[in-house]
């Protein structure tokens, strides 16, 4: 085991005000089960899960209430014990409608008999372990929510030689992963070891930004006895160090090809929270029913890192943190750079909810955008080396073919371009709209080809 600084420098990036001091020193606090949880069937990338319960059913904590709806999908579990109150569409954090199961808690918090403990995981084969991960409904907890068991099953022609564990937490305000590493380093390391065993990966890289010295120390301690090619990577604090493709490059110098996946360059990236969830699933036999969410922002009375049941309503989560002591104009699910603004507090936490951020009026001003002045700041900030200024103008003109030729589909929506834009152009909004439109066109073209063929 050794500790080194990231050997490669990522392109672009920005240095936003991190504001992590609001919640950094708040130890993880477990919130008692709320009266009602709303568990979405679409907490992950891919096909939504199919509800297995109906109104009136009684469920126990840990009971499977949604089964995977396809190959790229994940199971969902009840996070409290109680009665199913409703099964129907509800908005997710991103605003899209998806089936959700509302469970009224019976206050007893009775758990389903936990599954078998597998302290002997090192003796189990990869297939068995991947099955256990899938049963636990684990998805990438850093934000994207890609089903972990799918990631762990690459096609036979791909070899994964490097497991990268993402503890960068480059989003401003968020401190959930920081706290998790400081308080649960050993558990995370066990999870990492299990993942390493499943993948048979030669190398393990744990990456943490240098603005988290305590987390670095804690992980270093937990990893001290590790054998083989295990390295703790100190990343320079800048945004977006935690973006998958950028992190892979910063650590290995490998560029994930345009349109490709990390496994194309022999890498697999998992968030530290996901590693802990894997440990809980394998060693403790517990499915994923809770996570740590940073509830923060200046208007929040008592910011903190809250271990909450998945499906906790945002309103309950904020109330648990003492409510809002001053007016907020914006509520963001996630961090300020890539999170989703919420119109109300009716949504609920998901497996991917790393933060809930309240912004004061002066922190989220409403402004008009100006025409692009071609200052080139977005070009220098873009970690994908795109020309956001040019793309946004093409998209404003609804020239989707041109935008496609200019690689808008490679945009990772990190927000660096809009962050630096002096004309305050809604660059990410343009990119998102363009990407959605082009994806739709591609699907239609594929459909047409099928019908013809």
């Amino acid at each position: 085991m050794k500790t080194i600084t990231a050997p490669y420098r990522i392109e672009g990036g920005v240095h936003p005000a991190y504001r992590k001091e609001l919640a950094r020193e708040r130890a993880i606090l477990a919130m008692p089960p709320p009266g009602l949880v709303r568990i979405s069937m679409a907490q992950h990338l891919g096909a939504p899960a199919k509800p297995l319960v109906k109104k009136g059913d009684t469920v126990l904590r840990g009971q499977r209430i949604g089964e995977p709806g396809g190959f790229v999908s994940a199971a969902a579990h009840a996070s409290v014990s109680g009665t199913v109150q409703a099964v129907g569409p509800a908005p997710t954090a991103s605003g899209a409608l998806a089936m959700a199961v509302d469970i009224e808690s019976d206050g007893n918090d009775t758990s389903l008999e936990p599954g078998p403990r597998h302290d002997n995981w090192a003796e189990l084969d990869a297939k068995t372990l991947i099955g256990l991960v899938a049963d636990a409904g684990i998805v990438g907890m850093g934000g994207a929510g890609f089903p972990t068991h799918v990631k762990l099953s690459p096609p036979p022609d791909k070899t994964i030689d490097t497991l990268i564990v993402n503890g960068a937490e480059c989003e401003p305000f968020l401190t959930a992963d920081d706290r998790l590493m400081r308080e649960q380093a050993d558990g995370i390391w066990t999870g990492i070891s299990i993942l390493r065993h499943i993948l048979g990966a030669r190398s393990v890289r744990v990456a943490i930004e240098d603005n988290k010295p305590e987390a670095l120390k804690a992980m270093e301690r937990a990893m001290a006895g590790a054998e083989g090619d295990v390295t703790l990577i100190v990343l320079p604090a800048s945004y977006p160090q935690g973006a998958e493709k950028q992190q892979i490059y910063g650590i290995t110098g490998r560029e994930t090809p345009s349109g490709g996946l990390p496994m194309d360059v022999g890498c697999l990236v998992e968030n530290v929270g996901t590693c802990l969830a894997v440990r809980d699933a394998i060693v403790n036999g517990r499915p994923l029913t809770e996570r740590v969410t940073t509830v923060t922002g200046d208007p929040v009375a008592e910011p903190g890192n809250i271990l909450n049941r998945i499906g906790t309503l945002y309103s309950d989560l904020i109330a648990f943190c003492g409510g809002l002591r001053s007016p907020a104009t914006k509520i963001v699910s996630g961090g300020p750079m890539m999170g989703f603004a919420q119109g109300s507090l009716e949504s609920a936490t998901a497996k991917t909810t790393s933060g809930l951020l309240a912004l004061a009026p002066d922190q989220a001003p409403v402004y008009e955008s100006l025409p692009c002045i071609a200052c080139g700041r977005c070009v220098r900030a873009c970690p994908m080396t795109l020309l956001p200024c040019e793309l946004s103008q093409a998209l404003e003109a609804e020239d989707y073919e041109l935008a496609d030729a200019f690689h808008v589909m490679d945009c990772i929506e990190c927000g660096c371009c809009a962050f630096v834009c002096p004309a305050r152009r809604p660059l990410v909004q343009h990119m998102r709209g363009g990407k959605a439109r082009i994806a739709l066109k591609r699907r239609e073209a594929m459909q047409n080809n099928k019908e013809k063929g």
Partner: protein, 345 residues
Amino acid sequence: MTASDSHTTLYTVSSSPHAHSGASVPCIMFDVLVALTPALLAAVYFFGFDAVRLVAVCVASCVGAEALCRKAMGRPVKAALADLSAVVTGLLLAFNLPPSLPSWMAVLGSVFAIGIAKQAFGGLGYNPFNPALAGRAFLLISFTGRMTAWHAARLPERWSFGGLTMDALTSATPLGMVKDAIKAGDPLPVAMDGATTLRFLLGDMGGCLGEVSALALLLGGAYLLARRCISWHVPVCYLGTVALFSGIHWAANPAAAMPPHFHLLTGGLMLGAWFMATDMVTTPVTNKGLVVFGIGCGVLTMTIRIVAGGAYPEGVSFAILLMNAVVPLINRATRPRLFGQRRKA
């Protein structure tokens, strides 16, 4: 607000990011104005009332023309004025005029700069040419005589270069004098000894209002760099190319050519390299593009100054305008390789 009524509260919804660096167009323009202040003070010192008169006339007419154009086009007037870009254009245009220019000509140049070169293309952000330089070029072509007539303002007794007294009204810029002498086959009229270099650096010479004091312009340029309003690429490449080009020319023929520091300090090069060739709207967006742009400006400037035997001894404004015209091509040619896109084998 308490948490109990938060269910009914509606919050602002917008696309991420929900954070901003704080940079804004008016901020950038304000920084440019701050950076131009030393040169403005130098202009007032060297040219007195004429400097005040032309700056006032140009700024007022540019702002007025901007307001009228926006109104005529049925576009928001206040927002266009609030970005301060018309004030910057007015100030830069004034800096590019000889002190003796009649006010009505300055008004005409301002109206052309804003009305034709900027608003006719759609306003800030859409203009292919630097408006102030377009205004100067318009005046230079329309009123060549008045635009190249220099008077020594209030400093007549200082005007002697190497024993040669300046003509009060014609060819009074050092570059003009040199060019005329070379054309006539006379010995070079300016000797770049220490004293002359210092005078040129401070701005004690004939020329346009804002271009004379290299020192004041360098101060402003350093401010823009420190505020990250501009990057080093254009000024360094532009000045470097001029130094290299003139250095080679001078080394090849020291008797009939001026040394690099003469070319660097005269003819509005500092004004052009720090303030006109760094205009964001009319320059490339990539760093590589800015390097190409700067080198191109340098080559064209020196070509006009040395190679061509034409009527314009300075070269800076036409060099930048010509390079403005090829910015879309530079942008296309210097498109960065996409992260993750295969390098060409």
